[in-house]
């Protein structure tokens, strides 16, 4: 059985295998690309998640699907949805096109999607305090404590960073691999921060359950590769509208996600 850590993602729409991949990952199938028009016509009740290999187009559109369960169906959203139902717009019969149009309008739904938790699953710890700024505070190896994770709506950001890490690791077999950093559009990344990012990423690799196989030793990557990965990570966060301010406040906004209805994840291109 595929590994699904969250029950609400237990059903994989499209029959393409595990959301989180692993040894049950199916090869990319012939599922037609869901275009923006197709996405707008899809019913919210039928499209509840997007497997990593499902070709649904649109960065913000994909994020809205991912926030459907945790945000739209949250306690805070309940009175909003009740009001919509009473006015003849029940969520169960809504299409994503209708939902997105409603959400774009100034109002409670718009505000709800404009302030979503960034770090989640912290076991009750105040997420605004759960930050690490020093490499010495990174705990390596498998620990019982759960490290914070991105909100479900940022699934594509998580996959994108993993995609970048896989590319960076090509340097193990080819130290001269073409993997440039980001020269423009982001604030410069200090050397200390590169080390911190590598240490934190290593922490997560070490926690992965890969049948006792060791995790990739990221500190052994060429320094230019480590730096490029850290810079690309910063650029990716920025693409999803998350900078230092959002990180400190522990909030992200669907409306700050770079709007690109034609965006198809690079691992599907």
């Amino acid at each position: 059985m595929p590994y699904y850590p969250y029950d609400m993602y237990g059903e994989d729409v499209g029959g393409e295998g595990a959301i989180y991949g692993s040894h049950h990952q199916s090869a990319p199938d012939a599922t037609p690309i869901m275009t923006p028009d197709g996405w707008r016509a899809a019913r919210c009740s039928e499209l509840t998640n997007i497997g990593r290999l499902r070709p649904v187009v649109g960065r913000r559109e994909r994020a809205l699907v991912w926030v459907m369960e945790p945000v739209i169906k949250s306690r805070e959203a309940a009175p909003i949805l009740t009001g919509l139902a009473e006015s003849g717009l029940p969520l169960a019969s809504m299409t994503y096109g209708t939902l997105m149009d409603l959400c774009r309008m100034d109002g409670d739904l718009h505000d709800l999607l404009g302030a979503i938790d960034l770090r989640i699953n912290l076991g009750g710890i105040d997420p605004t305090r759960f930050t690490v700024s020093e490499r010495g505070r990174i705990m390596y190896g498998v620990t019982a404590a759960k490290d914070p994770e991105l909100h479900y709506g940022l699934q594509d950001l998580g996959w994108s960073i993993g995609h970048e890490l896989a590319k960076a690791c090509e340097a193990f077999s080819d130290p001269d691999v073409w993997y440039p950093g980001v020269d423009e559009g982001i604030a410069p990344v200090p050397d200390e921060h590169v080390e911190l990012v590598i240490a934190a990423t290593q922490r997560e690799l070490d926690r992965e359950l890969r049948r006792s196989r060791p995790s990739a030793p990221l500190s052994e990557l060429p320094k230019r590769i480590q730096r490029a990965f850290a810079e690309r990570r910063r650029a990716l966060y920025q693409t999803w509208g998350i900078g230092t301010t959002q990180w400190k406040q522990n909030k992200w906004s669907l409306w700050d996600v770079k709007d690109d209805p034609s965006w198809l994840p690079p691992w599907l291109s």
């Binding site: 590994y3 989180y20 994770e149 699934q155 960073i161 993993g162 911190l196 997560e204 992965e208 052994e220």
Partner: protein, 46 residues
């Protein structure tokens, strides 16, 4: 009769710290199959 001494023969092995990392990854599912949203390390500033 002369005493014959033998020296144990040891096969040189690469130490873990010097052996090149041989795994390759064609997708995030191979390097990190489960914890993509944790791999982003949101406790560390972008």
């Amino acid at each position: 009769m002369p005493t014959i001494t033998t020296t144990p023969v040891t096969t040189p092995t690469e130490s873990p710290s010097t052996a090149p990392w041989r795994e390759t990854y064609t997708s995030p599912d191979e390097i990190c199959p489960q914890q993509h949203r944790e791999l982003a390390s949101p406790d560390v500033e972008p």
